[in-house]
């Protein structure tokens, strides 16, 4: 019982904190990837 309570607590607090960090990184780097995708599609179109 104690094991499950501890596991769920670690998962909740650790998972949420990690996700918050990941979200910030993906937001920034993802914007660069969107720009790169549109640039590549435009080039393909011209080619």
């Amino acid at each position: 019982m104690g094991f499950w309570k501890a596991l769920w607590a670690v998962m909740w607090f650790g998972g949420l904190a990690l996700f918050a960090v990941l979200a910030v990184i993906v937001t920034y780097r993802g914007a660069l990837d969107v720009a790169a995708l549109l640039k590549r599609l435009s080039q393909n179109d011209q080619g």
Partner: protein, 504 residues
């Protein structure tokens, strides 16, 4: 009929603003769509971080939030096990590249396309038909569950308001997905990822300030017993259901077409691995956060049972939105609703796009008497998408659910993936896999249909626990499909020229 809610004019402004920008952005992407490859897999030009944003946004739909919150509300903390198994499975798939990397390396756009490469055109058509049938059935409850969220948050409790909400949501998503294809999906997914992430983290932090962790654990334990904490406790999930859920986690990551579509769109196999490894955190969050919200709703509604409304149907599904609409302050509900609409729309566009692409590429095109051009295929895909939209509206209003939404989702998905898992694994990693084996595996997987409540009732099958019944049927069908694949391949091998095809 209007229930109590803190939803205000400011919240309306936030939601309408989000809808206008999101739909406009999706339609703007139309200008980049020139051929079928751009339409289906965005010209295979997706880099890792956009891939991660897209997989998290599309796999975390509002329907996921709804069925997970219902699971948290009814099952308590034990439901966290499902989140853990999904995250571990996605991480394993990302690290090993199991199924997804060889599929990407073969350059296929859809799973049935691989069936044709490996087994022949007839297997592609059969596999594509089962995949689309299962996928569209699986999607059948999305619209209703999502509209239940929106109407509950806004305090609208009548059936007419629910129907109106369903129609408006569907119309908006159809508009931009029809026009822009995968490019629209990716760009709107990115924007929706950003808004959804803010809403998920902010609302969770707000709820943690309202309910302490210790208070929630003791309330759930006192009201629901040990099984709400320990999944192995008597009366809890039990080992069979837990194994079934672990299997579902694996399938969700590597066999489900919407995930595979992400792999197909990736720039290279390295991007595929990164997307799925980092995406595992998304798989954890997409279940765990709504479980927590459902548990908070349970604790809150114990004190305010009147808020659910006497005699209003779907109480366990409505619990989370009703609780949040009364807990969150004005403005924050608007951000939450915009975030959840973002989650809903990113999932709709992905699923609508996926199933229409599968039907066009794997059913209509192979059966057509002549080669179809890119423009023709795009118009066929759009027509199919429109028909799927009409089906969603009708099915969402008519189908009697009769089981937890999560279990409905698992069963409808299992109709396809239990057979497909055997066919894909054997097709990719075993030289002797044959088309007879593939047909036998598909047939065994299709047997999962007896887990749907109306089908089980029609067959007169007695079952004490719906959860355990669907787990036993699902695992049995998966094992049967594996045996059928091996036996069919050994007993009826393909002719030498077919069998000599390369395996990954």
């Amino acid at each position: 009929m209007i229930g109590h809610t803190n939803f205000s004019t400011a919240d309306w402004a936030i939601v309408v603003g989000f809808l206008v920008i999101s739909t406009g952005l999706g339609m703007w992407a139309w200008r980049y769509m020139r051929n079928m490859e751009a339409y289906v897999v965005a010209g295979r030009a997706v880099r890792p971080y956009l891939g991660v944003a897209s997989i998290i946004a599309s796999e975390m739909g509002l329907v996921t939030v709804m069925y997970s919150a219902e699971k948290g509300y009814t099952t308590g903390f034990a439901a966290f096990y499902l989140a853990l198994s999904a995250a571990v499975a996605s991480l394993v798939v990302g690290l090993t590249g199991f199924i997804i990397v060889p599929l990407r390396a073969r350059g296929v756009m859809t799973i049935p396309e691989f069936y044709e490469q490996r087994f022949g055109r007839d297997v592609r058509v059969c596999g594509g038909l089962i995949l689309a049938f299962s996928g569209i059935l699986n999607m059948g409850m999305f619209l209703k569950a999502d509209s239940l969220f929106v109407t509950s948050v806004m305090g609208m409790l009548s059936g007419e308001q629910l129907k109106l909400a369903m129609t408006v949501m569907l119309g908006l998503v159809l508009t931009y997905t029809l026009l822009g294809g995968m490019i629209s999906v990716l760009i709107t997914d990115y924007m929706q990822f950003v808004i959804m992430s803010i809403a998920l983290v902010a609302v969770s932090v707000f709820l943690m300030a309202q309910f302490s962790w210790g208070q929630l654990v003791s309330t759930v334990e006192a009201q629901k017993g040990l099984a709400a904490i320990d999944p192995l406790a008597p009366g809890g999930m039990g080992p069979v259901y837990m194994i079934w859920m672990a299997f579902l986690g694996l399938i969700g990551a590597c066999v489900w077409q919407t995930s595979v579509m992400r792999a197909a769109s990736a720039e290279d196999t390295r991007t595929v691995r990164i997307t799925f490894s980092w995406g595992s955190l998304g798989f954890l969050i997409r279940f765990m956060v709504p479980y927590f919200w459902g548990i908070c709703a349970f604790a809150y509604l114990l004190q305010r049972p009147d808020l659910l409304g006497e005699g209003v149907p779907d109480q366990s599904l409505r619990a989370m939105p009703v609780a949040l609409a009364n807990l969150l302050p004005m403005g924050a509900i608007g951000v939450l609703t915009a975030g959840m609409l973002a989650a809903a729309m990113s999932t709709y566009n992905t699923y609508l796009h996926t199933w229409s692409a599968v039907l066009t590429q794997d059913l209509v095109a192979p059966l057509a008497h002549r080669e179809l051009g890119s423009t023709q295929r795009i118009w066929i895909a759009r027509g199919i998408m429109l028909l799927i939209g009409v089906f969603l509206l009708v099915w969402g209003l008519w189908y009697p659910l009769g089981q937890h939404l999560w279990d409905y989702m698992a069963v409808t998905g299992a109709i396809y993936f239990t057979g497909a898992f055997a066919v894909l694994t054997a097709g990719l990693y075993w030289k002797r896999a044959s088309r007879v084996g593939a047909y036998a595996a598909f047939a065994c997987g299709f047997l999962n249909i007896i887990s749907l409540t109306p089908v089980a009732d029609a067959l007169g099958i007695q079952r004490e626990s719906g959860m355990l019944y669907s787990a036993i049927v699902g695992l049995s069908c998966a094992a049967l499909a594996g045996v059928a694949m091996v036996a069919g391949s050994l007993l009826f091998p393909d002719r030498r020229s077919d069998a000599s095809q390369e395996v990954a």
